[in-house]
Symmetry: C2
Subunit: 356 residues, 2 copies
């Protein structure tokens, strides 16, 4: 850090990117990626001809991509915002709607970046602890009348909130934007999209990184009223108007259009999730009911850190989150059948060792 | 714009992206893109295998890309920052080093985004008018001891500042970061890279969008002391850690490694620039001495707006900048030989019409 950096940024906790150890090949179940490659339509569209045009700037309005997303979700293109991954979208939203005098209400346990944005923009967050069963206490999110942000389904708990509860939060915060982060919704959550017609304060944030198999492409989007979308466009266009690169734009269009491939990938992950959850439960694990592409699981007779470490020794990476209420748990991405077999094999081995 | 947007952002002038009219095919000489496709090595590296891995997140540390850039410019990887286009890099730098109480000194005529960032972050800019010959008045940039930012070569004037003058500005602002935007340096400017070893306050910002033929990929970088790079990493990692997508990372590495192709493209553009400048001058134009991939030119007997409009009627797009001191001029990207012939043919036609 230099002496030139503004003091308020000097106090930020630098983000530590998810581990990518290079000492051996790991079965990577720690970043909630899809185990499937992008749609064959994406592969075909990223042709030599498309690559040869990289000397030209992308369309800053992302017209075709926005139209494609709008068509898919039966909204108008003016209700669609796109940017460089959903982190970009979340960052612009926090900046647009909260600051030192306009707060934000967030769950204590959710996507960790909400708290990072709060610190970065000097926002005083109202941090709401989860219920003991890891659900969100809906009452605590009502009548905030400031930015309210949560993920549905939530991470790392994997639990979905019923749409009726989401609607109560939106309806009872008419003077605040309610940001619903639907990164994982395709795997079993109820989307808030039907509520868009009714609530001008609803902001839905989504990503191509999970169910669309494009984490490497960096593409996130928002669905909302045209006025909120205009706000986000203003934030983007005063920072980085060409934030989505040409190839990712093409990839996103094709990934969105290939319904059959999308359905097959999501169905496969949901099926594997059921198999792995049942297997872990049969081994004595507590596994929450996941509506996502990951499992939030507590090993029998061992805290999360120990289980995480013993898996890592055996070449399997999962995510341990060092938060007081989550100590017993790890977050396990639902990978391919082979990856999940590696996980359960390693787990059986660990449990055997523990009981010796 | 919604009622929820923070009032300070409501006052921002929204950026208007460069025109991309769809009514006909244009000879596009208005956005300073390279007329050449990316290096064949880029084409080969963006293989089906690379595309198939898009389901995985990119390396947030961009290790190989940073090492490749470091090797090219004989600095250490800790002196390299990369992000999603140089706008991203500039945006992080303005946010890191200036705010309501820490100002910025910028030229009145330069890359328009500096003023946009100033407004966005509520920075009071010290705006320095250019000299009558469009050069920067070096004296006015000394002893600012706050963020100082300028492009060298400058846009849209196309003029390069001698390295000695750049060094004076850096040396006489020891308590402020001096940001030198070298977007166009490969076409004839003197780089400040040799000064990095001497000045911890020097921040050089660069792009792959021009001489590396990757405007569509969105890749910008900064070279500076490790402490300044750590600041920028902190800004990025509290906003969007995965800001460079996987394919662009691969493209950037190969574009940087292909010296022969890079040299050939730059040489070709410089040669074409000389031909086109001479031709326009022979037609009575005033053309500044360009050290960039564009010409800043004033047509005889006609202001810039009129010349721009008459070119557009003939299917040639150039950039007219609606600023009081630039009224006589347009900015013309140096395109391919065929594109430049289209420009000069259209220009002859316009001049003939004017004199009838």
């Amino acid at each position: 850090m230099s002496d030139f950096l503004l003091p308020r940024f000097a106090q930020l906790d630098p983000y530590v990117p998810g581990e990518q150890p290079q000492d051996r090949q790991y079965v990577k179940l720690n970043t909630n990626e899809s185990p499937f490659p992008p749609s064959p339509r994406v592969m075909d569209a990223l042709s030599r001809e498309a690559i040869a045009r990289l000397n030209l700037y992308p369309d800053p309005l992302a017209k075709t991509l926005r139209e494609t997303i709008a068509l898919e979700y039966a909204v108008s293109p003016e209700q669609v915002f796109v940017s460089n991954g959903s982190d970009d979208v979340l960052g612009f939203a926090f900046m647009a709607y909260a600051d030192q005098t306009h707060g934000v209400t967030i769950p204590e346990v959710s996507y960790g970046f909400y708290q990072v944005y709060a610190k970065r923009y000097q926002i005083q967050p109202t941090v709401v602890p989860l219920n003991e069963d890891f659900t969100l206490p809906v009452e605590k999110f009502l009548r905030q009348n400031q930015l309210v942000a949560f993920a549905n389904p939530n991470a790392p708990t994997s639990l979905a909130m019923p749409l009726g509860d989401v609607e109560r939060i939106i309806a009872e915060n008419p003077r605040g934007v309610v940001l619903v982060d639907e990164a994982y919704v395709d795997y079993g959550g109820e989307t808030s999209i039907p509520l868009l017609a009714k609530y001008p304060n609803l902001l839905i944030v989504r990503t191509f990184s999970k169910s669309r198999s494009l984490a490497g492409g960096r593409l996130g989007y928002a669905l909302a009223s045209p006025a909120l979308i205009e706000d986000l466009d203003r934030m983007k266009n005063t920072f980085n108007p060409y934030s989505v690169n040409s190839l990712t734009m093409v990839a996103g269009i094709e990934a969105m259009r290939d319904h059959a491939y999308f359905d097959a990938c999501v169905a496969s992950t949901c099926k594997q999730r059921a198999v792995s959850a049942a297997e872990l439960r049969s081994l004595g694990f507590r596994v929450l009911d996941s509506a996502t592409n990951f499992l939030f699981a507590a090993a029998p007779g061992m805290d999360g850190l120990r289980y995480y470490q013993k898996l890592k020794e055996r070449g399997v990476l999962v995510r341990y989150l060092n938060q007081p209420t989550l100590r017993q748990f790890v977050r396990i991405t639902v990978g391919s059948e082979a990856q999940m077999r590696a996980l359960t094999d390693a787990t059986r081995d660990i449990l055997k060792e523990e009981t010796v």
